[in-house]
């Protein structure tokens, strides 16, 4: 019984907040505001609890209590970041940031240079080593990739004036960029529709008897709310008009 009640309550809450947020598509309204503020509050609460029980207690408090006293160093460095909010001692935060910068740069720079820079240059050139055994399709494919990379780089190369051959190459680069942006935008539309589908699918699930018909009831109540507001607004406008006329 308890389980089914919590399932129903969860369904009503989930469907309700989704419908309230969607109601903004009609127009801004108090239901949307309620859902928006709830979202922000719950998000912050969730974040705090996860960090407290997922990081602070198991990674700092418990080991420290078990005698790992050296942990005080990273903990203090971490806490030093919070001093940013107190202008008088905000300089303390530099110690924490220095550590983060040094550690981050040392780890990230060499690896990212190897993965995103050197490996990509190699990947663009290497296929041409086997040019004799390439099929026509493969050659066109690799040629397009190499030519596209060079032309796009030329477009972003501002140390020489873009005229003559450089201008032609950079113009071709623009076409490559446009194709990428077009494909990227198409994929973005697809991704957004996928998310919309996800919410509709969930609303459909919550419309059944298992969730006490949460979706249709909440939609009906929301529509009633909008009709009521519409009538009330009209009445209010009528009263103001009459008062002004008088």
């Amino acid at each position: 019984m308890e389980n089914s009640l919590s399932v129903i309550l969860g369904g009503w809450l989930s469907a309700g907040i989704t419908i309230f947020l969607f109601s903004f598509l009609y127009k801004d309204n108090p239901l949307f505001k309620i859902a928006e503020h709830l979202y922000l509050g719950v998000g912050m609460g969730w974040w705090f609890i996860v960090l407290l029980y997922g990081t602070w207690i198991p990674k700092a408090y418990e080991p420290f209590m078990q005698g790992e006293y050296l942990l005080i160093i990273p903990v203090l460095l971490g806490i030093s970041l919070v001093t940013q909010f107190i202008p008088r001692i905000s300089w303390v935060s530099r110690y924490g940031f220095t550590f983060i910068m040094g550690y981050g740069a040392g780890l990230v720079l060499p690896l990212n240079l190897a993965t995103d820079f050197m490996a990509q240059i190699g990947g663009t050139i290497k296929p041409f080593a086997a040019i004799a055994s390439m099929s026509a399709g493969e050659f066109i494919n690799y040629f397009l990739i190499a030519a596209g990379a060079v032309c796009v780089l030329t477009y972003f190369y501002f140390s020489v004036e873009h005229k003559g051959f450089i201008k032609k190459a950079s113009n071709i680069g623009i076409y490559f960029l446009m194709i990428y942006f077009g494909a990227s935008f198409g994929n973005t539309v697809m991704a957004r529709f996928s998310l919309l589908y996800g919410r509709f699918d969930m609303l459909y699930d919550f419309s059944g008897a298992r969730y006490a018909f949460a979706t249709p009831v909440i939609i009906l109540l929301t529509v009633c709310f909008f009709v009521y507001r519409h009538i009330a607004d009209k009445k209010k406008a009528g009263i103001t008009k009459t008062a002004k006329a008088e």
Partner: protein, 274 residues
Amino acid sequence: MKDRLRRFLNIDRRWLFLLLSVVMIWPIIHPSGIAGRTTQQSVKDFYDFIENLKENDFVILGVDYDPSIKPELQPQAVAALRHLFRRNVRVCILTFISGAPGLIEEIKQTVPQEAGKEYGKDYVVMAYNPNYMAAMTQMSIDFYKAYEKDAEGNTVKGMPVMKGINTYRDMAGVVEITGTGMLDAWVAYVGDKYNVPIIGGTTAISQLGYGPYLQNRQLLGLLGGMRGGSEYETLTGRKDKATSGIDALNLSHMLVIILILTSNIILLVLKEKN
């Protein structure tokens, strides 16, 4: 005629929202089954990678997304886990995203039971770890320094699922499902550095950015968005949420194309008349 066309162009956009909603809800109520073909090589590669794993291999499954992109990525994660279990591979689920533990719990409640898998013996779920860089680096030296306890607070070392696992060298690969830059991190900090095979699943928006990694074989397979998920479900022979979602995507894309074409034709007609 001219006025009618103009009125169509100035239609209240809320009617279009309503039309789009109807077009999207219709296939949820009446699935048409238009989807069904796998056309992307990266999806086939993703499938082949898991298909070629040996029994009892050990794989990390990264579930790094929060509820905001669940519709795109949860079907991928579910399908990948089902496939891994079907190959009798040991799975270690972990996350670096604070919003993911709830979604992992959802998966944990259904998929292992279906496959008859036992927690601690066939799979394990690690606790959320906020520092992915430290964890990825530590796992290369000693896995248990990064993950001493699982999500339920049990000691990980000694679990049957972890038998013989100490570093990346003992693992067959990483399957990373994410809507963040975590896949880039796995490729840069683990795949390239320690020669660990990486395959991934990502949102449709991020999919294009991984082209260079795929071309270079730094990434051995990729699922992109709901379409990638649906094609993968087709390959695994178990159609689920991604496949039913593709029906709705097909129809809504058709609606968008029709609206774009119609409004452009109307604009051309009006221009000619002027």
